[in-house]
Symmetry: C2
Subunit: 253 residues, 2 copies
Amino acid sequence: MPEDLVRPDAMYKQLAARLAQAISEGEYEPGDLLPSETQLMERYGVSRPTVRSAVAELRSMGLAQSQHGRGTLVRSVALPATVIDRTVTRSGKRFTVGWEADEAEFPAVTRGHTTGVTAQLLDREEEAAFIVDRLLTDTTGTRTTHRVTIPFDVAHDVPELAKSPDTEPAAIYAALTAAGHTLTWTEYVTARSPLPDERAALRMPDTGPILVTYRVTLNGDDRPLILEELHTSAERAQLAFRVTAEKAPARRR
Amino acid sequence: MPEDLVRPDAMYKQLAARLAQAISEGEYEPGDLLPSETQLMERYGVSRPTVRSAVAELRSMGLAQSQHGRGTLVRSVALPATVIDRTVTRSGKRFTVGWEADEAEFPAVTRGHTTGVTAQLLDREEEAAFIVDRLLTDTTGTRTTHRVTIPFDVAHDVPELAKSPDTEPAAIYAALTAAGHTLTWTEYVTARSPLPDERAALRMPDTGPILVTYRVTLNGDDRPLILEELHTSAERAQLAFRVTAEKAPARRR
DNA sequence: TATCATTTGTTCGTATGTATC
DNA sequence: CGATACATACGAACAAATGAT
């Protein structure tokens, strides 16, 4: 019989909640080792599987991280170090994006179609498009995947893009501007748990969430031109947006 | 001995990866029930704990959701329905924020201090401040917590804020503007797994990530005035930012 | 309405493998 | 090398929710 954990509402959940509280109260500091599974068994009078379930909860909450053969570490809950600045700056015909990172590999260009979310955001159903995939690495080693989708009709109007769709976003903005477009962007941000291949691509050792952003480049008539998609580990990076007050109350969907 | 799962690299992970792939290939459609644990045991020749670990992986990936006594459902991977528009619009002396929601309760005003992240973003060490907490609910029932931190020195300069710190953000912007400030905002976005009390406050049944944003209101000299913090379930809501090209290349930290 | 089979949830015990120190 | 600690896997039992009979 457990010592001071009452029955209903899963003991492993109670134990997890208690340990989580102890961590957030600073009883265990980041970098500390939690008591070993054996010690927790004895301390709370529960079996090993119960302790393991509780520790698994802590891991899934991002509060702890286990190391095989060593112990379970309390993780720091500090804000991610890398700031991905999502602002766009223009001086004359040149554009600069706020965050630059090296490409870990060459951009991969494929031909595909707009589907699902991509089709919806680009307002084009099943249209052929260039798809450019990049893997970016910043100075701290944080990895980010970046995908640009350029519909064929846009590339057709801007031959520069058709020739080399794998130019950097800032250069794409410049080419679109040179072609007579006045650009604005709308960016959607969400987060989710990574799929196995995403976690592998981003080299995420643990199972934290990833940040997902969709940036739609719009022309003066608010027609979508291209789509950029960014995936990065939320534990490694945060996004930064500069917001300024707008004048006209034109809003869409 | 397992039928066609080779040994090294945890069988439960292999099984999870296989089921995840089957889901993403559409073999199991959203809303479908996965085979029961007993069926999976027989199909793959593994024990029930192994099957349960694999299904737990699927849940933590957000691909499945179990229902006691019924089975395990395949979840839809669509984008969140609610869009939280983070733009700010100004017409004359009036400000409007892009996303409005009802307050589920009255705003709770407390007095506290800037600490940790709050202190860093407001560039004030351990300064006394008003803290205003709100719980917002939109028409779809999505809940969002909103915290405003107003340092005492700012409230002192703008008596309107000291009198009623629990005014809506748009009104705070107007008051700050009336006091002679020219406002811009910087917003930081990250995501993490919710702590137990956060999950409770947002009424999140499952264990997906939450989106966390910090919006810093800056005056013309880029000095931070107030801080807004938003928490919402990433499975229920996504954020939308409008990005426009800036002129001057002034950037900070 | 009540019962029953099915299904997931929880907990225990036990054994073995493997990384760390 | 040995002790410790986490990782994986099996078996077993009962509880609790669900849906159909």
